[in-house]
Amino acid sequence: MKTDDKLKQDIEATLNSLDKVSRAEAPPYFYTRLLSRMERKRVSALSRVLQLLSRPVVGISVLVLFLVLNVVAIRGIMSAPKAQGQASDAQSFATEYNLNTTSVYSN
């Protein structure tokens, strides 16, 4: 069994054992290894996206979405002149019956 004094000495010496510690240095070529890890990460992120797109479910979904958007766009283009025609019919009707005035009291 240790004496109290020896025990206290040991505890204090151990507690103070980090007092003159110097800073540990990062390993050599740290920056080079960091850059290569960042590059690997970038490539793997890109390949994950490509992998995702190459899955049949995702590929077909993207294709269907593309087709639907095209159909919607074409229908929009086809119906546009008709809407314009309807608008001009209404305009001529209003002119004919003098409905263009803002107030019923104005001439």
């Binding site: 025990l7 510690v21 540990a24 240095e25 960091l34």
Partner: protein
């Protein structure tokens, strides 16, 4: 002013600025991570993660604190996360080995000797690091930043987002807890 320019250059994705950042802070980040993780290879991994995080989220840095304070915060968060994951894995391995699912042999890591410790203190510091590992996180972080990174109480308070009084309290309790653990260790040594 120089730091502001560096941050601006980092936000503009200048490669030379990133190289300067790593050159200036790599030892600080590595040493802090090593103090928590106790393994050179793993501390290097964490240090790399810290710089990747800085590169990716530099736009979130508002400049309210020093760049070094921000780096310390990221390093400590990542190192503590790493340590928690490792402890979870260790616990899981123990449980699975009890049920005979995992036949992996569990090996206790060797005593950690910090490379910056003087020759005569190597043995004692290894004992101290084992005890530090058992401290609650706040006490551990405060103790390590003051002892191995030579930070002031004010700097540690800024890093931890606490008051100086709180840091003093963490240090006081850390010393108390370490004394108790060391007393148990030396009493049972023989």
């Amino acid at each position: 002013m120089v730091e502001q320019l560096l941050v601006e250059a980092l936000k503009n994705r200048q490669q030379s600025a990133f190289a300067a950042l790593v050159t200036d802070f790599q030892h600080m980040v590595f040493n802090t991570a090593l103090g928590i993780i106790h393994n050179r290879e793993e501390a290097e991994d964490v240090a790399q993660e810290v710089f990747i995080q800085v590169y990716e989220s530099i736009n979130q840095f508002k400049g309210d604190s020093k760049l070094s304070t921000w780096l310390y915060r990221i390093t400590i968060t990542k190192a503590l996360d790493w340590q928690r994951r490792k402890q979870r894995k260790k616990r899981f391995a123990v449980v699975t080995s009890l049920f005979g699912i995992n036949n992996e042999v569990l090996i206790d890591p060797p005593d950690f000797i910090h490379p910056g410790v003087t020759m005569e203190n190597k043995e004692r510091s290894a004992i101290l690091f084992k005890a530090i590992d058992k401290l609650p996180e706040n006490q551990k972080v405060a103790f390590l930043l003051i002892k191995i990174e030579d930070q002031t109480y004010q700097e540690v308070a800024d890093i931890m987002g606490a008051s100086v009084g709180a840091v003093e309290s963490y240090m006081h309790r850390a010393r108390q807890n370490l004394r108790k653990m060391l007393e148990d260790f030396y009493t049972n040594e023989q």
